[in-house]
Amino acid sequence: MTPEDMDLLAALARQRAGLRIESDKAYLVESRLNPLARREGFESIEAMIAALRAHREDRLIWAVVEALTLNETAFFRDREVFAHLRDELLPSLSRLGRDRPIRIWSAACSTGQEVYSLAMTAAEGRDIAPAARFEFFGSDLSDRCLEKAQSGLYTQFEVQRGLPIRLLVKHFENQDEMWAITPRIRQAVRWRRINLLADLSSMGKFDVILLRNVLPGLDPAVHGRVIESLAARLEDDGVLLVGSGESLEGVTSAVQAIAGPSGLFTRAAA
């Protein structure tokens, strides 16, 4: 790839999805685009980029942008965050006794491990009121990630990253060489392809929104806009979780940090 190729990719990723692609990370970009170029029937990444330049075909542009998203994820990533959800946040939401479901959204869910971890957490929490109902939503920019998430099928390697063995035994079944999450957990989640730069007002309101380990992959220029548009989707006492160690200092005044593990925010008082 030439520097001009990298510039083109970075510009498309930034304009379409707010992604941050660093110009010195050509090897990373190549490793993500190689499988796509092969699937699309191109001889090389260069050939694919040439076609992109020549035709500006929307479908191919999106396929490229989606392939450039980070999809690093794991079950129960950051155990203290999930312990807090299990022991504090979900129990306190469940005890409000509202006559509507508690709505939780994993806003860049990649291959689904985070939102399935949430569904398992809600099923496991001892202090969660039994009458409470939960609705889980997973959204991502990448259709391929969503397809995998929706299938609920994971490799042996994936189920050994963060998932306690007792939860594997309880919520998964062997399926050929893979592990399949049980229908009970799988059917608790609704999926949708969502670009976080788009208008999110049709999404309704949520009690908990997770946007963990996403901001580092986004152009800093869109951080404020994305956080504000998610904050507007929070119920009055809703909670936004970003990754531990991700600061929103100076990004926006729409949210304020709250007590608990690092990364918890609520809507700032108007």
Binding site: R79, Q156, F157, Q160, R161, G162, P164, I165, R166, L168, V169, F172, E173, N174
Partner: protein, 121 residues
């Protein structure tokens, strides 16, 4: 320093596991089957046992059942590490008193994560 007994009939696996576990701060003892492992435990109960399933003389699950009946045998945290990956086998291991379970092949990250999960780190 915490001690971990690595029980596996493959010398190669014992060596790999030793290296990973030493890196995360364990002192290592090795045994090649369940009988040898039980003798180790009777002499000095380890904090942790990394346990293969299929071994000659006495296999992992038999060793675990014996261990849990020894004086002090409830103490060690036992992490299976085996090619057995059927859910029934995992259930059997948990029922016999295993704390965590690794399906081979493993790498250093998986061992460290599972040991953390079992409260050993």
């Amino acid at each position: 320093m915490k001690t971990c007994l690595v029980v596996d009939d493959s010398r190669v696996i014992r060596k790999v596991a030793r290296r990973v576990l030493e890196d995360i701060g364990f002192e290592i003892a090795e045994a090649a089957d369940g009988v040898e492992a039980l003798a180790w435990c009777r002499a000095a109960m380890p904090d942790a046992v990394l346990l293969d399933w299929n071994m000659p003389v006495m296999n992992g699950i038999e060793f675990l059942r014996h261990l849990r009946q020894e004086p002090g045998g409830q103490g060690p945290t036992v992490v299976f590490c085996t090619v057995e990956n059927r859910i029934e086998a995992i259930r059997e291991a948990l029922d016999a008193g295993a704390d965590e379970y690794i399906m081979k092949p493993f790498d250093g990250d998986i061992i460290a994560a599972k040991f953390a999960e079992a409260g050993l780190l």
